[in-house]
C-alpha cells in the first residue's frame, strides 16, 4: 500500500509537470492574480464573502475555460500522443491513475488558479477580512468545489473525445449550457414567484447558493448546498469507475 502511494505521488508530480508547464499556466496565474488585485482595489468591499465573490465570479469563467482547454483536453492529448499508454504500463492500479489525473488536471490547477486572485484580494483587503476568515474560506471552497465539478465532467468528456479540440469545445459547451440552464431556471422562478425553482437554480451554482445564504436572500435547505458537492463526487466517481473498468486508450 505504501509502495503504491509512493508511486501515485511520483506519477502525480510527473503529470503535474506537464499540466503546469510554462508557458500557459504561469501566464494564466499571473493574469488572474493581477485581475484579483485590480478588482479588490476598484471595489474595496468590506465583507469577506462579498470580497471573494466579487473577485472569483469573473475569474471563474476564465478558470473553467482553462480547465476545459488545458486540463481536461490535456487528458485527451495524453491519449492521442500515447503518453497514457506509458502511464498505464506502470505497475500502478488503473483507479490510482484516474485519481492522479483528477488531481493533476482538475484539482491542483483549480486550487492554484482560484487561490492566486483570492490571495491577492485578501492581502489587499486584509483589514476587512481578518474578522471573518471563515467566510473567505467557505466562499473560496465553494468556487473550488464548483470548479472541481466542472473539471470532473470535462475529464469524463475527455475520455470519449476523439481530439483535444473536440474535448475542449464539448466541455466549454457543457459549461455554458449548464450555466444558461441555471440562469433560466432562476429567472423563471423569480418571474413566476416559484421560490423552489429559484432554489434549484441557485443550488446548481454552489457559490451563488452560499452567497445567497450569507446575504440572507433565501432560506436555503441543506440539499441546496449539498447538490454541487454531491454532483462533483458522483462525476469524479464516474470518471474513476469508467477509467478503471472500461477505458481503453
Amino acid at each position: 500500500m505504501r509502495q503504491i502511494m509512493g508511486r501515485l505521488v511520483t506519477l502525480t508530480a510527473l503529470d503535474l509537470a506537464d499540466t503546469l508547464k510554462p508557458p500557459g499556466f504561469d501566464i494564466m496565474i499571473v493574469l488572474l492574480a493581477a485581475l484579483g488585485g485590480s478588482l479588490a482595489v476598484i471595489q474595496p468591499l468590506t465583507q469577506g464573502y462579498v470580497i471573494v465573490f466579487s473577485v472569483l465570479e469573473i475569474t471563474m469563467i476564465a478558470i473553467t475555460i482553462y480547465l476545459a482547454l488545458r486540463g481536461a483536453a490535456g487528458i485527451t492529448s495524453l491519449i492521442e500522443s500515447g503518453i497514457m499508454n506509458v502511464y498505464l504500463s506502470y505497475p500502478i492500479p488503473r483507479e490510482g491513475i484516474a485519481v492522479v489525473l483528477l488531481i493533476s488536471r482538475v484539482l491542483v490547477p483549480s486550487i492554484l488558479l482560484l487561490g492566486a486572485p483570492t490571495l491577492v484580494a485578501v492581502i489587499i483587503l486584509w483589514r476587512n477580512v481578518i474578522d471573518h476568515p471563515l467566510e473567505v474560506v467557505a466562499m473560496y471552497s465553494s468556487y473550488l468545489i464548483q470548479a472541481f465539478f466542472y473539471g470532473s465532467v470535462f475529464a469524463l468528456i475527455s475520455l470519449k473525445a476523439k481530439t483535444p479540440g473536440a474535448s475542449g469545445v464539448i466541455s466549454v459547451a457543457f459549461y455554458f449550457v449548464y450555466n444558461v440552464a441555471a440562469v433560466l431556471l432562476a429567472h423563471i422562478g423569480a418571474s413566476r414567484g416559484l421560490e423552489e425553482l429559484t432554489k434549484i437554480a441557485n443550488s446548481m451554482i454552489l457559490h451563488i447558493a452560499l452567497y445567497n445564504m450569507y446575504s440572507g436572500a433565501y432560506n436555503l435547505d441543506l440539499w441546496n448546498l449539498a447538490f454541487v458537492p454531491l454532483a462533483a463526487g458522483l462525476t469524479a466517481s464516474a470518471f474513476i469507475v469508467y477509467f478503471t473498468v472500461r477505458f481503453e486508450p
Binding site: G6, T10, L14, D15, A17, D18, T19, L20, V86
Partner: protein
C-alpha cells in the same frame, strides 16, 4: 501461469468499437530468457496484442497472464516489465534525466540505475534536454532508456527501430540482444521488417489479420520461405531436375527461382544431379523472405 512462461495469451479475441476484429483467438507464450520476434504487416494485430499483454487494453474473450497475473486487473503483473511503444512518446514537462529519475521511483529502484539506463541506451549528453527537444533517433533511445530504468526482466518493444536509420536500427537491436545475452532479459520485439527481428530473435511469431500463422524457431519459420536464385547455362535442365524432386520453380532468363525446403542438402543434391544431366550451374544465392511471404501460407 504455466511454469517458465513470463507471458501467456490463450485464445484471446479483441474487437474494437466499430467492429474491427483485431485479434481472433490468438495464443502466444513467451518463456523466460527467450527473444521472441512478433512479426506481421501493418494492421495485423501486433500492437493490439502487446497492449492486451500489458493490460492497457481489455480483451473480449480469452485469458492473459503476465508474470502470473492478469495485467488488466492486477498492476503487479507489470512489475519488472519495461515497455517501448511504437511511437516513442514520453511526458515532456521535465528533462529526460528527471523523467527517468521519476520513473525509477515508480519502479522502486535506486536512482543509480538512471545513469546506467542513459549509458545503455546511448543517451549520454542529451539527458538534460526535454523529450520534445530530442531528434527522432534520440527519442527512440530515450524511450528505450525509460524501459530500462526499472531494471526489467522482461522488455516488450513495439517496433523499437521505427523512425531510425539503418545504423541506428542495428545498434538498438544489438543493445537489446546484449541485454538478453548478458542479463537474461526476456524480449518480445515486434516489427514489420522480418530480417531485422531475425538478427536477435530465437523464435518468430507471425500474425496475419489477427491470427497467428507461424510460431516457431527462426530457422524453422524461415526455412520453407527462403528464396533461391540459381543461374545456369541451361536453366531448363535445372528446373526439370528440381521439379522431379518436388521443388516449385520459375524460369526467368538464365535464372531458375525456387524456395528452399527445410533441408538445404536436398537442393544441393538436386543441383549436383542437374550437373550430372549436363546442366552448368554458374551460381546460386538465397534471399530472406519478406513479411508477406512468411505470413502468406
Amino acid at each position: 501461469m504455466s511454469e517458465g512462461y513470463v507471458l501467456t495469451l490463450e485464445d484471446v479475441h479483441k474487437t474494437y468499437p466499430g467492429g474491427v476484429k483485431a485479434l481472433k483467438g490468438v495464443t502466444v507464450r513467451v518463456e523466460k530468457g527467450e527473444v521472441v520476434g512478433l512479426v506481421g504487416a501493418n494492421g495485423s494485430g501486433k500492437s493490439t496484442l502487446i497492449k492486451i499483454a500489458l493490460g492497457i487494453l481489455g480483451r473480449d474473450k480469452g485469458s492473459v497472464s503476465l508474470n502470473g497475473r492478469d495485467p488488466f486487473r492486477d498492476p503487479r503483473a507489470r512489475e519488472g516489465v519495461g515497455v517501448v511503444f511504437e511511437r516513442p512518446t514520453l511526458p515532456g514537462g521535465l528533462s529526460v534525466r528527471r523523467l527517468l529519475e521519476n520513473t525509477a521511483r515508480v519502479y522502486g529502484v535506486p536512482r543509480d540505475y538512471v545513469d546506467e539506463a542513459i549509458d545503455l541506451a546511448g543517451l549520454r549528453g542529451h539527458e538534460h534536454k526535454t523529450f520534445p527537444q530530442l531528434s527522432a533517433g534520440l527519442k527512440q533511445r530515450a524511450a528505450i532508456a525509460h524501459a530500462l530504468v526499472g531494471q526489467p526482466e522482461f522488455i516488450i518493444a513495439d517496433e523499437p527501430t521505427s523512425n531510425l536509420d539503418p545504423i541506428e536500427r542495428s545498434k538498438i537491436l544489438e543493445m537489446l540482444a546484449r541485454l538478453n545475452r548478458e542479463r537474461g532479459v526476456t524480449l518480445l520485439i515486434s516489427s514489420h521488417v522480418i530480417y531485422e527481428v531475425m538478427k536477435v530473435a530465437t523464435r518468430i511469431i507471425a500474425l496475419r489479420r489477427g491470427v497467428v500463422v507461424r510460431d516457431g524457431p527462426v530457422s524453422q519459420v524461415l526455412a520453407s520461405n527462403v528464396k533461391v536464385r540459381i543461374r545456369a547455362a541451361n536453366p531448363e535442365v535445372v528446373a526439370k531436375t528440381l521439379e522431379e524432386r518436388g521443388f516449385e520453380t520459375v524460369i526467368a532468363g538464365a535464372s531458375v527461382y525456387t524456395r528452399l525446403k527445410s533441408d538445404r542438402r536436398e537442393l544441393i543434391e538436386a543441383l549436383l544431379e542437374a550437373e550430372k544431366r549436363g546442366a552448368l550451374v554458374l551460381s546460386f544465392d538465397t534471399a530472406e523472405p519478406s513479411i508477406e511471404e512468411v505470413i502468406s501460407e
